[in-house]
Amino acid sequence: MKTISENEAWDLVIEGHGPLFDLKISEVWSYRDLLLMFVKRDFVSFYKQTVFGPLWFFIQPLFTTIIFTFVFGNLAGLSTDGLPQPLFYMAGITAWNYFADCITKTSTVFKDNSQIFGKVYFPRLILPLSIVTSNLVRFGVQMLLFTGMMAYYAIAGGSFRITWAIVLFPFLVLLMACLGLGLGLMITALTTKYRDLSFLVTFGVQLLMYMTTVIYPLSAAPERYKHLIQLNPMTGIIEAFRFAFLGQGTLTATSLGYSGAVTLAILIGGILIFNKTERSFVDTV
C-alpha cells in the first residue's frame, strides 16, 4: 500500500471542516439540469388536480389589491402619489410578493427537504435556487396581470407614465431574488437547530412589509421615520420599481446602490452560512 504516492490526484476529498469561503458555484453549475427539474416539478405539481390551474397565480394578488384599495386607500386615505390606487398597490404587491415568497419558501428548505437531503448528495444550494426560479415563473404571471391592469388604466385615462428606468427592471428582479434568497438561506440555516425562528418568519415578513413602501410612497412617509424606512434595502427596490412602471417614486443612484450593496452582502453571507450548515444539518434537523 505504501507504494502509492501521497500526492495522488483525488477527485474528491471529504473532511470534517471545509474551507470557510467556498461558494461552490462551479458545482452548482454542473447540476443545472437538476435545478430545471425542480422548477418543473414545483410548477407542474402546483396546478395538477386543480380546476383553475395556473389561474390561481392571479387570484391572490388581485384580492390583496382589492382589500388594500379598500382599507388603505378608501378607509385610511393614504397617499398614492396621485397614481390610480389599484395600480399603486398592485405594483407594490407584485414586487413584494416575489421577495416575500423567496424568503418564506427558502427559509424552510432544509426542513421541507430533509427526506431528500438525508438520502442523496447534490449541491444543497440547488433547491433554494430552484425555489427562487420557480417563484420567478409565478412572478412573471403576476406581472402579466399588472401590465394588463396598466393597459386598462391607460385606456381609461389614469395618470401614470412609464419611464426610462424600465430598463432597470431585470436588475430589480435580480436584486429582489438575491435579497430574498440570502435572507432565506440565513434563516433556514439557523432553523435546522433552532426551530423558533421558523415561527418568526411569516410574521416577520409581514411586519417588514409595513417597513417598506408597499402601501404608502416614500414621499408620504413622515420625515423622522424616512431614514429608518430607507435603511430597509427593499424600499429602494420597490420605489425604483414603481418609478419605472408608473413614473412616481424615489429613485436615486444612492438608494439603488445602497440596496445593491446590502443585497450582495446578505447573499454572500447567506450562501456561506448555508454551505456551512448543509454539511451536517441532517444530524440535527
Binding site: 500500500m1 483525488w10 477527485d11 439540469d33 416539478r41 431528500i116 437547530k193
Partner: protein
C-alpha cells in the same frame, strides 16, 4: 491496482436525545472553548463508544471511531454489522449526506449513492417525469437520461403506466421504476444501502445481475462481494474475505451460549463439549472426528439424545438423534460422557455451531436440556466454484456404452 476510496481515521459523533433545549448554550460553550481558548472540543472527549443496549453517561456517542480502510478499483466490499454498528453512518459519510466529525475520505471517480430507491419521487408527476427528476437528483445529466429513457422504461417493466402519476402506482411498480433509474446510473463508485430488499424475486434477480452491489441481506452479500468489513460499535473489527466476515458476524451476534436447561428440577443436564478430547474447536473437513459432551442425570428413563450442527444461517447441516436405550442405557443415572463419532463431514470451510440436546418423558416434553453451543471452524478444501455447501470426495469414472449393457446383464 489503484485505490478508489481511501478512508483515514474517520469518526462521526452524534448527539442523542432531544436536541433543542440547551443547544444555544452548548454551542456557545463549544465555540468559546474551541475558538477563543483554542482547546480541543470538550464534547468530543465526552463522547463514548456506541453501545446500543447500554445506557451511557454521555449524550454524545461515537457512531464511527477511527475507521480507516482502502478500497481498490474494481472491488466490491460488503459492510456488515448489527443495527447501530455504524454501517449507515459510514455510507452516509461516503455519499456526502453528512460530513465527518474527524478524519478524511478521499475518492477517485464519479460517485453514485443509493441509500434509498426513489428519492425525490413526486407523487403528482408521471412515471416519465419522475425518471427525469430522480435521475437528475442522482446526478445524471438530462442528455444522459434522454439516451437511456427507453432502456430505463424497458427495464422497469411498467411501460403501460409510464404517463400516469406515480401516486396511482402499486408500491411494487413504484419500486421497479425507481430501481430502473438507479440501475442505469453510470459511476465508478457505487454506494448501496439496503435497497435490494425490495421488489419481487424476479425483479431482484434482474437487479442483481444488472448491478452487482452491496446489501443488508447476507445471501446477497455473499453472492456479490469479495471482501467484507465487519463493523462493531463504530469500529472495524474484521477486514477480510466476505465469507469469514459474515460468519464472524453471525457468530459474534450469537456469542458463545452456555448450556441451559428448561427442566428446573435439574434431573438432566448437559455440559461442556470437546472435540477429539480437546477444547480447541477446529475440525478438518476431510477427516473423521469425535465429539464428546458431559452429561449428568438422576434416574432418567427413555431419554432421546440429539447432536446438531448448524451453519452460519442457522440451518441444520447435521441433525442426529438416538434413544438412550439404543446405546445401552435405558435408564441414565449418574455422570457420563456421551460420544458421537462422525465420519468425514465434507462441508465447506467456515464457522459452524455445534450443540447437544436431550429430552425425556420424565422431565416433561418442555423440559429439554441443551449443552453449550460452540462455534467450530471447519478448515480444509473448499469447493472450487464456491457455490456448493458440500464438497464430498467422489470417484469419477467413464466407460463405453457396452460396459453398461454388460453390467445390466450381470
Amino acid at each position: 491496482m489503484s485505490v478508489a476510496i481511501r478512508v483515514e481515521a474517520l469518526s462521526k459523533m452524534y448527539q442523542l436525545g432531544q436536541i433543542g433545549t440547551g443547544t444555544i448554550s452548548l454551542d456557545m460553550e463549544r465555540w468559546f472553548v474551541t475558538r477563543v481558548l483554542r482547546k480541543p472540543d470538550p464534547f468530543l472527549k465526552l463522547a463514548e463508544a456506541n453501545h446500543r443496549e447500554v445506557k451511557g453517561d454521555s449524550n454524545f456517542v461515537w457512531s464511527l471511531k477511527d475507521v480507516s480502510f482502502e478500497i481498490e478499483k474494481g472491488e466490491t466490499v460488503g459492510i456488515i454489522g448489527k443495527n447501530g454498528a455504524g454501517k449507515s453512518t459510514l455510507l452516509n459519510l461516503l455519499s456526502r449526506v453528512t460530513s465527518p466529525t474527524k478524519g478524511t475520505i478521499k475518492l477517485k471517480g464519479r460517485v453514485a449513492s443509493l441509500l434509498e430507491v426513489g428519492t425525490g419521487f413526486h407523487p403528482e408527476l408521471s412515471g416519465r417525469e419522475n425518471i427525469y427528476l430522480n435521475g437528475s437528483i442522482l446526478g445524471m445529466r438530462k442528455k444522459e437520461i434522454d439516451q437511456k429513457l427507453d432502456e430505463i422504461i424497458d427495464f422497469s417493466g411498467v411501460e403501460r403506466y409510464i404517463d400516469t402519476p406515480v401516486k396511482r402506482f402499486s408500491s411494487g411498480m413504484y419500486v421497479r421504476l425507481a430501481f430502473a433509474v438507479a440501475a442505469h446510473l453510470e459511476s465508478e463508485i457505487l454506494i448501496v444501502d439496503e435497497v435490494l430488499a425490495v421488489g419481487d424475486a424476479e425483479f431482484q434477480k434482474k437487479c442483481l445481475v444488472k448491478m452487482e452491489d452491496i446489501s443488508h441481506n447476507m445471501g446477497a452479500i455473499l453472492e456479490l462481494c469479495k471482501r467484507g468489513l465487519l463493523l462493531e460499535k463504530g469500529q472495524i473489527v474484521r477486514d477480510s474475505d466476505v465469507g469469514t466476515c459474515v460468519a464472524s458476524f453471525l457468530e459474534r451476534d450469537k456469542h458463545r451460549q452456555p448450556s441451559e436447561r428448561s427442566d428446573k428440577n435439574g434431573l438432566l443436564d448437559l455440559g461442556r463439549i470437546s472435540i477429539n478430547n480437546e477444547y480447541s474447536y477446529q475440525i478438518d473437513n476431510s477427516s473423521p472426528f469425535e465429539v464428546t459432551v458431559h452429561l449428568a442425570a438422576k434416574d432418567i428413563a427413555n431419554a432421546t439424545l440429539f447432536f446438531i450442527v448448524e451453519n452460519a444461517f442457522g440451518q441444520s447441516v447435521v441433525h442426529k438423534r438416538v434413544s438412550s436405550a439404543e446405546i445401552g442405557h435405558s435408564v441414565i443415572d449418574g455422570e457420563f460422557r456421551l460420544h458421537v463419532k462422525i465420519p468425514t463431514l465434507w462441508i465447506s470451510p467456515g464457522i459452524y455451531t455445534m450443540y447437544f440436546k436431550t429430552i425425556a418423558p420424565a422431565t416433561g416434553w418442555s423440559g429439554r436440556a441443551f449443552s453449550e453451543r460452540i462455534s467450530v471452524e471447519v478448515t480444509g478444501q473448499a469447493e472450487a466454484s464456491g457455490k456448493a455447501f458440500m464438497n464430498p470426495s467422489v470417484t469419477w469414472s467413464m466407460h463405453p456404452e457396452e460396459a453398461k449393457a454388460e453390467a445390466l446383464l450381470v
